[in-house]
Symmetry: D2
Subunit: 140 residues, 4 copies
């Protein structure tokens, strides 16, 4: 699978900074979320529709490496791609850049679960959604 990157741009909020004068490390995880939301929307299958279908994608693991600080009022670009998808897991990777310069990079791993939080094999239980998701992810 060749990676398809989707980009979205954010303006850094004062609320996102901390007393060190830079963006608080936990806030990058919100930007990752914005990135994957846009990835899904651009692919024609917003995450909100997935939830409406009774499928949820909680994060089971996150990793982030911080290279340079972002600051208030910076315009940052979140680049998002899907690294891997299986019937039970989705792995997404992210880059945060400011004018091309890499500020942070990371990844999230997601499980497919139902509204009660039980793990789903998406391919088996919802083959219709599985096909759409694979298409979105592969950009076809």
């Amino acid at each position: 699978m060749e990676a398809k990157w989707v980009e979205t741009t954010l303006r850094v909020r004062y609320a996102e900074t901390d007393a060190m004068g830079v963006v608080y490390y936990g806030r990058y995880l919100e930007w990752f979320e914005v990135g994957r939301s846009e990835f899904m929307r651009v692919g024609g299958f917003p995450y909100s529709r997935l939830e409406a279908e009774g499928v949820f994608l909680p994060v089971v693991e996150v990793r982030c490496r911080y290279r340079r600080p972002a600051r208030y009022d910076d315009l940052v670009t979140v680049r998002t791609a899907v690294a891997a998808v299986t019937p039970v897991r989705l792995t997404i990777v992210y880059e945060i850049r400011r004018e091309g310069e890499l500020l942070a990079e990371g990844s999230t791993e997601h499980a497919f679960v139902d509204a009660q939080g039980r793990p789903l094999n998406l391919q088996r239980t919802r083959p219709d959604l599985w096909q759409v998701l694979v298409a979105v992810v592969s950009g076809t």
Copy 2:
């Protein structure tokens, strides 16, 4: 109704500060929430139980006046009291203090609603909860 004040103490998190080196103004609203949660718990009727009964208390109005900044690692006390309760509304007031000094003060007004967000007259639809709530609020 004579006001009963409930106090709870918080340690300021780095995440709560901003680039001005002080606590971000929006974060005080989380502290108000901590204050009213403790108020309910101390009264023997945690807010989570109210939700389990199908009654929710969304905020319909908030006001906060900021007098002095709070900083990372400060120990702040949230003082909470109920200013007024009617079958459709609850008004709560708050003070944020550090070693007695007033940092901020404010209020929230809440509506009683059901799980679908429809307004409730608590006294009429749930007289059992109404009686408990009045007892909690009046400290009897």
Copy 3:
């Protein structure tokens, strides 16, 4: 002074929602901040430049009235206008709308202070900035 309204549009983040399924009440204060940042930027005088000049605008009072809930993935518009400006205070008003419908409205009052948090009479201490600010605010 006739009000000049500046609009900016936000996509609601999952991070901004809470267990009631709607946006947490404290998060609207971040949106107000986004609104006033855009107001300043559109006027040609970004808030970051004000800080670079040694002038800060901490919030001394906030008020917000919540009319209808915002939800994940909603596109909301923040409308911002300056209600009043004096040499020591700035009052800003906000409306949060979704497809025209009013979700929330509020105001913030700001003091002019220096880097040490001491109150400033901007007109007296920094007449240059005062003139620029009045022009930005009045939209001239």
Copy 4:
């Protein structure tokens, strides 16, 4: 070096939950921060004092694995230990538990930097602080 674990307990705030009804994944990073702040304080050397000495500890990498969701009003325990310390890096590990059950686990890696964000070799530039820090970390 044998790990010394420090525990601190938190009450989950409504603000920390999201529309899935559980704590938002980014919020765990605040709890990690609370954990390491308490670790330092318990060791007699609060992080705020380190900053007052001109030494900062920005996060250069974070990892978190989510095992079970935390919910509003849960009492969760943050367990914190130092996994490694060198003159230029500090690695801290965390466990989030509820009544013993593991909800999440993770780690942060920190660099020593000065107020301008330049990397410091703490042992060489501030041998006094280095000795104190090693003592805090090793619990001696």
